[in-house]
């Protein structure tokens, strides 16, 4: 699997909601090679502070020259990205890591996304759009962050359900509350979001004996498997390195208890 260090050009930056931005980037090398669930390391500043690149899932990709990132502003790096303008260039490294693994042919699947964890699921849903039933469960603090994304999943033919903390869209409560009802018909679940959410999804799937893949997060320095910094507790006391063993791993590989 080739990896590239590529100077992408920003095509557009759209503000989807407060602190939620979608960047479209021209990056032909990376876009041609990217698979759903993979990520890129983005250089956020022209100088040495902030120093390290930031990891972002590939949110969408046309497979030839353009890819999109969905970015939630949480700190200095993401703030700088949100302030970029079309035409500027942004250095990327990617596509990195292991993506989602296909479900059994023609089976039903369930995608569960919490907050910014929704980002990689759209790319996956696009690629999954074969004749199969795809249910997408989306959770966030408030409805504003979900409306456009929910519509886009629907356009792909997915069945979408939402949950919000404030009840402003769909179920008031956790997105995991919606999951159990769908598991009897699902052959595989794919989840991305905060660790507690993914732990709950993993447990629910385990109870229902449904296969489950999750996309992990960890602070990263390199994204290349070189620094050994991006560790997560795995099963059997071993360590997982999110950038190489993941970000997408089988839920059984993670020590959710720790």
């Amino acid at each position: 699997m080739p990896e590239y260090q590529e100077n992408s050009i920003i095509d557009t930056i759209d503000r989807l909601a407060e602190n939620f931005y979608r960047l479209s980037l021209r990056a032909p090398l990376i876009a041609s090679a990217a698979r759903p669930g993979q990520f890129v390391m983005v250089s956020c500043a022209p100088f040495l502070d902030p120093l390290l690149r930031r990891p972002f899932s590939i949110h969408r990709c046309n497979g030839s020259d353009t890819l999109q990132l969905l970015i939630r502003v949480v700190g200095r790096g993401t703030e700088l990205l949100a302030r970029c303008r079309p035409g500027q260039s942004l250095s990327l490294i990617g596509p990195l890591g292991r993506g989602f693994n296909p479900p059994p042919p023609a089976s039903s699947v369930c995608l569960v996304g919490g907050g910014i964890g929704i980002a990689p699921l759209l790319f996956w849903a696009e690629r999954l759009k074969t004749p199969r039933r795809c249910t997408v469960l989306l959770g966030s603090r408030t409805g504003k962050e979900l409306t456009q994304l929910a519509a886009e999943f629907s356009q792909l033919g997915c069945r979408v359900e939402t949950a919000t903390d404030d009840g402003s869209l769909g179920h008031r409560g956790l997105v995991t509350d919606l999951l159990a009802a769908h598991l009897p018909t699902a052959a595989k679940t794919y989840a991305c979001g905060p660790m507690p959410m993914m732990a709950a999804v993993a447990q629910t799937c385990r109870d229902a004996k449904v296969a489950c893949e999750v996309s992990l997060e960890a602070h990263m320095a390199c994204g290349l498997g070189a620094c050994l910094g991006c560790t997560v507790h795995g099963d059997g006391g071993r360590y997982l390195h999110v950038c190489k063993n993941g970000p997408v791993v089988n839920a059984e590989e993670v020590a959710w208890q720790r």
């Binding site: 602070h219 990263m220 320095a221 390199c222 290349l224 070189a226 910094g229 071993r238």
Partner: protein
């Protein structure tokens, strides 16, 4: 400015070890080179120094292991590595194809471990030199003691030299009062070259949770932030010893690399910069060539230690 087509000689020698150019990668920041195979023309490098190897595999520290700091980062990887046997079996085959020098960074809990490890790696095809890490601050029982007491550093050096016929580079810790005393001790003990600096010991705290950012509480500071300290120590050591010095610490650009050469380093290692700019090493090889051309110099070894002092 000199003629544009001047032939430029980038080759340097680290004692018995000849390099096609002075640009190496720093241990722990370039994996086992395969990780960068798509991003760096490996054959263009002077060499790679691989992640520190111990006799037995080590799992490393619990997470979190890294945190960003102003113009730098802290790491407490805890010397996670696959151990000597798996290193030879799994990592050396690729490293032999790199077409550049392969230097193996070694670490141990005891003088004996260093010696046994050095012996184990000697004679393995493709290994060109050993770099002895006596300075890693991350593991409680690790090199920290060796790297802060001249006599202990000398003892490790002697033990490794006695166990191998490979060139032996000793890597110094900057967390000492007198870096020159450390350098002289390992020179006298027979080191073929000295590399410095390893990371400075640092710490970071999350004000919100009131906890240390690293599970290990303290970690090693690296990156551009430490460059002035590294440059000072390289200059002091290169002025004091006769064996070649390899400069390390915050090198990210051609200018950075040249500064270390001027200060007296015969070669340099690029560490943290590999993370934020994987292309850095290749760019620096090209950049040094361009710098020499621009300065009217024809050989990189002519600028080593050529810092101009006085008015």
């Amino acid at each position: 400015m000199a003629a544009l087509n001047l032939p430029i000689d980038l080759s340097v020698s680290l004692g018995p070890l000849a390099l096609t150019n002075p640009v190496l990668t720093a241990s722990g920041t370039f994996g086992y080179a395969a990780e960068f195979a798509h991003l760096v023309p490996l054959a263009r490098l002077g060499g790679v120094v691989v992640k520190g190897i111990s006799l037995a595999p080590r799992p490393g520290n619990p997470p979190p292991r890294i945190v960003e700091t102003p113009c730098g980062m802290l790491n407490a990887i805890g010397l996670e590595n696959v151990g000597a046997d798996r290193f030879i079996a799994e990592k050396m085959p690729f490293l032999r194809t790199c077409c550049c020098r392969v230097i193996v960074n070694i670490l141990g809990d005891s003088i004996e471990e260093y010696a046994v490890l050095a012996e184990r790696l000697t004679g393995v095809a493709g290994i060109d030199a050993l770099e002895v890490n006596i300075s890693c601050p991350n593991v409680k029982k690790g090199g920290v003691a060796f790297g802060t007491v001249p006599e202990m550093a000398a003892t490790v050096t002697q033990a490794v030299k006695a166990a191998t016929n490979l060139p032996v580079i000793v890597k110094l810790s900057p967390n000492v009062t007198d870096i020159v005393a450390m350098a002289r001790a390992v020179e006298t003990a027979g080191a073929d070259a000295i590399s410095l600096i390893n990371t400075l010991i640092g710490m970071a705290i999350d004000a919100r949770t009131r906890r240390p950012w690293l599970a290990n509480v303290i970690g090693g500071l690296s990156g551009p932030a430490i460059k002035p300290v590294a440059l000072r120590m390289v200059w002091q050591v290169a002025s004091a010893v006769k064996i070649p010095v390899i400069g390390i610490g915050g090198i990210a650009t051609t200018e950075d690399a040249v500064e270390f050469l001027l200060a007296g380093a015969t070669a340099i290692q690029v560490g943290t910069a590999n993370f934020f700019n994987p292309a850095a090493t290749g760019q620096i090889v090209d950049g040094i060539e361009a710098y020499l051309r621009h300065q009217g110099e024809s050989a990189v070894r002519d600028i080593v230690g050529s810092l101009r002092l006085g008015a």
